[in-house]
Symmetry: D2
Subunit: 384 residues, 4 copies
């Protein structure tokens, strides 16, 4: 068979290189599935582990050519930079423990790559600011994977509020509770738990950094408002744990909005309980991550309205964020994939990161949030 | 037909007199239904309104003899005291606006009546202490109608925790959100809203007194622990409202338990959203007032267990608190009625108020809680 | 104190006499609570048990004078008839096993009493027709306690459909599943189970009569349509059980509506799972008895709307059927009490039973339904 | 950099060719995402449309080389057969309208390809049997994409029952309700609706074939039992529609299990309401597709247990079917992907289709089910 000159041009996946994500890691595998889900990206290179054998093992499992399974992230950046433009990695994904984000991200930006970086952005706001400056300096796209913003109904919540459906906002309350660190898993050698409990690797926040930053980002994202002041408290319930496993804050946001944030990793039996509620003068909403396809709307006329992707009046971004018809549940991976799909769209359009994707600015704010709670725990209300 | 000497003695209802509860009032009607529900009490007298015509109107509607529809609470106490012991009111129910509780309650106690008093107990802790001393001095029973403690599964939650099912407690979080005061109903002449918004009648707390005290009591009741310190904040979102309509507090309870409390009456569209969650070293629980027949248990072994009155291992008090078989929903009125039924049992047994009924001590603590949040809002952490 | 000539007339409770409801019975106690809940009725007489000692025991417990605790229902009818009009029982409640309903109900009607009778009305449609004729002949009010029709949101569902909100109806599906008869409780001596499993006492239907009739009535009540034909099947899963414990039917209703009905008492672990869904050309609804304060509405424009008593556009009857504000859960007993309250209103107004109360006609239809399923199980589609 | 002889062998994706799935089709895109999700398959060839221009358009969009975007499925089979073994398509996915499945599937099998075919398998049981014989004759793997069997908790339900947790089964009830065909979309030119409403393309079943076969398969899959007899009824509510849009059946399964099946596509506002419940002598379960991560267990000891992938005692297959930690919702696409992942595992292991994957036998049964309901609607109980 032949193809004519009218044959449409094949859309090739963009090329991704990953730093971190070796065997045993959870989030690297999630990034891979999310990035590949629509065919927008292909994972073509990786420095998956500081142990080259393990890196090669991962590469083999993930269909990455062994010569692009690098012994170090430095190798990855250097070797990929030297490849022809149409082969070279276009986006570097950073999914290492937090303390490595800063150096890798800046190096990747300076080597001319776009970057997708896991949260928290880094371990101090001084380092975070350096990353932000590198983004500005290089003009590269920088995505921080606050993946919960990718759910269709989270995007709908943001759109609803932006267009004033809830009136003037008054309250925002967000909680994020998990139970998997209720005992001292780090002492038992659980790898995911271990690095998160080591301030040298994770940064000063435990639950604060790992899930508090997601909760904080979700509140700001949906409300379109910034936390200006907070009164925070943190605690370690598990004896000997060097970072917090539980924290709360009273919040003040732009425009007189008040709120609370709670995060805990010692709520035995709770899985991934991220819940946001927002109330304004004309209505309210509640979104629950564990049932992400329902957006509860509270109205002065009474009762409860549950908005779903089936709703005829869905905002365009929320509608475009759904891959399956209503009632065909969309989950965590697809929400995550929405970030990558929208990043790919921006890259193909040679456009900057769109407003609805979490940026380095959000990453910087997350790090400031962790520091602010810690500072506030010692001395009272803190400006953010 | 005749009855023999073996005929069992008829159980007559105990006799109740009500102060407050006139036409238009909500809570008086609830008390009447709750007290009468099992036939444990009959309402035989009332000073339902300071307007005697309205008092008589209510009496007629409620089958109270006109001569026991008194022009004032003073008349009620005096005239009832003079009746023969087997006719006289046994319990005086106080359901007036808060500022009147103190004088009426003490006078009723001193006149020899048991008292059931709505919450908040009174408008200051100095007055609350005086009531507590009157209770001690007179030796009468004194019930504060924190009615949410009457739900079978709230009592089960308390029993579970008391016997150590959750291990050592770590966190308790309670929220109570309503939306009915999201606009300025008081200015629009709504009676229920009006007196609650007037500090001279309601006391210094708005949402704090009206619903915050319930949330506070529920947390202490279920945990069997006391709030020792709090950091609170309050606010009025509705312009010109003289009391708070929204408040939060960070809590420290006995034994290192940490927690949060939120209450708001401006969450548009929310009805009566009282939710409690408690976590310990071995498990957690969540109870939601709007679905009161489910008690969610969180366990380290995973999944979710919903306990109901059907459970074979239900604690005796919870089992005795159910009037209908499992799956036949028990509601607000029956939970309320459980307080009255248990009070009647104590009276018949000539026993003191049982531990599981909210007492004057709980009432005093509620008033202190309101004051503590207000004080803390001004100056930081406060001991309770 | 004195009362003036303007004193409003005291509203005395109407007087109730109960046949059945002795110690150990469940439903008699429910009727008593329901009838007394608002003070609309007082229970003043009873033939609670064929054992007079047990009858007196119940009377004492329930504050019924011993001389009105009759040795037999015949005594009750005779003695009460002879009392002065302003003392005499006004409504006779029949809560005996089913096989006694017919004789007692007709005798009560003919003695001039209004009657409230439990379901199923009786044990055959021939007997049911006799009761219906007695109702017609005597002109008395006759209430069949299909209590699920008393829930505010069931009444709202009926109103919604009557005014055309769902368009032309297409489907109605109702299921009622319980698990309490999954084992042979009757053989173990459980009294509630024993008489229900004896066709001589319960009639030909087991689950069909006990809960199937409720499901059938609910479907007809809400839809305002009649089942015209059915194809049924029944079964006993428990060996040796003389009546069905499980049954289903395909339904055809007036106007081309199609549906299904399922009932079972062997669904281990299920409590009282009565669920109704109705769909028409313009929308649908679902109501679940175990969460009775939510009415789910399905609309072409998508999402889900949960209607509650808070809704501003609630129909008048549904609104009047609520005793507590939104979010203060209303349960089984209050729904039951709504039947009695509305019956009292009719009696006071000297009006006939209102349309929305289940009547003898509904009772007759319930009995026909049981017979139709049994007949259909043997020979195919049956007209009703 | 170099790789040593110890470098693990790269796991290449298996190669997929798709017939059908052109622009505008829904299910082809789902298959592509599902097959690619883990990297187990790559889509390398397609006959996406009978219009070659549209086929090329799809190929370009999906990164399929234009020379492998074939003008016809015959071309695809022929050209791919001629490719070297290590390039050639390994699995042919058939996602055309139903009437084409038979010819394509048999041709693909006979050309030596494994086949994944959408449901219903084909348009008559005679044709279905021919496919089954071709599978047997060729020894190829044949997957029918009853994708709901891929959910972790559906697999868990099957495992629970297989090991006897529910005792001897008694009842299985399955319903599948949608609303998208409540109006005559086909007449309005909606493509998905149009072919489904044409018996020449869809086969004799409308809702029966499209969703009834899923419901039927789910019941048999989870119960590990076969429907032996049924009494069915079907209907078209939308005037002029040539196939059913609504149907029910009473079921008898192996071992005396009784049940019901309902399916409808005219339940306005319902999305994808597939719900299964199963009860046995020792317990029951309910699974709801729209909240697929919860498996409700009903136990004689009361209450409700919700099993999730967090449960420590999860069966191995269910555990292996989860890609994300508990509380990170898994959705429709991932369940679908589980079928493809397990198919890939079988292919790599050179093993036959595992028992838990829906096979041609299930496909044949689905077609028989459609025919049986139609036949039963005309003449009563039918053996299956």
């Amino acid at each position: 068979m032949t193809t004519t000159s009218d044959t449409p041009a094949t859309v090739r996946p963009l090329r991704l290189g990953m730093v971190g994500g070796g065997p045993g890691a959870f989030i690297g595998a999630v990034h891979r599935i999310a990035a590949r889900l629509d065919g927008a990206f292909e994972l073509v290179a990786g420095a998956f582990s500081s142990d080259h054998g393990r890196c090669l093992e991962r590469a083999a499992e993930w269909n990455v050519e062994p010569e692009r399974a690098y012994a170090s992230w430095q190798d990855l950046l250097r070797a990929e930079s030297e490849r022809p433009a149409d082969e070279r990695v276009q986006v570097v994904v950073v999914v290492t423990p937090n303390h490595l984000h800063h150096e890798i991200a800046i190096a990747a930006l300076e080597a001319g790559f776009d970057v997708a970086c896991d949260k928290p952005l880094t371990t101090s706001s001084a380092l975070a600011d350096e990353i932000a400056r590198a983004v500005e300096r290089t003009g590269r796209r920088f995505l921080v994977t606050h993946n919960y913003t990718g759910y269709p109904l989270v995007r709908e919540a943001r759109a609803l509020i932006a267009r004033g459906d809830l009136g003037e906002l008054r309250r925002v309350d967000v909680e994020y509770v998990q139970g998997w660190l209720a005992e001292d898993l780090a002492a038992q050698g659980q790898k995911q738990a271990a690095w998160r409990a080591d301030p040298a690797l994770a940064g000063p926040g435990g639950a604060l950094g790992d899930i508090g930053t997601h909760a904080f980002n979700l509140a700001e994202f949906v409300c379109g408002a910034r936390v200006e002041r907070l009164f925070g408290r943190r605690h370690s319930f598990v004896a000997g744990r060097a970072v917090d496993d539980d924290a709360e804050a009273l919040l003040e946001l732009t425009g007189g909005v008040r709120g609370t944030l709670r995060c805990s990793q010692v709520c035995v039996g709770r899985e991934n309980g991220l819940v946001l509620s927002v109330f304004g003068t004309r209505g309210g909403l509640t979104w629950r991550q564990e049932h992400p396809n329902d957006l509860e709307l509270h109205r002065p006329e009474g009762g409860l309205t549950v908005k779903r992707t089936a709703n005829a009046d869905l905002s365009p971004l929320a509608a475009a964020s759904a891959r399956t018809p209503p009632g065909h549940p969309q989950g965590f991976l697809e929400a995550f994939a929405n970030l990558y799909r929208d990043l790919a769209t921006a890259i193909r359009a040679e456009a900057p990161l769109p407003d609805h994707l979490p940026s380095v600015t959000d990453g910087v704010r997350g790090v400031r949030f962790v520091e602010a709670v810690i500072e506030s725990d010692a001395r009272g209300w803190v400006e953010l």
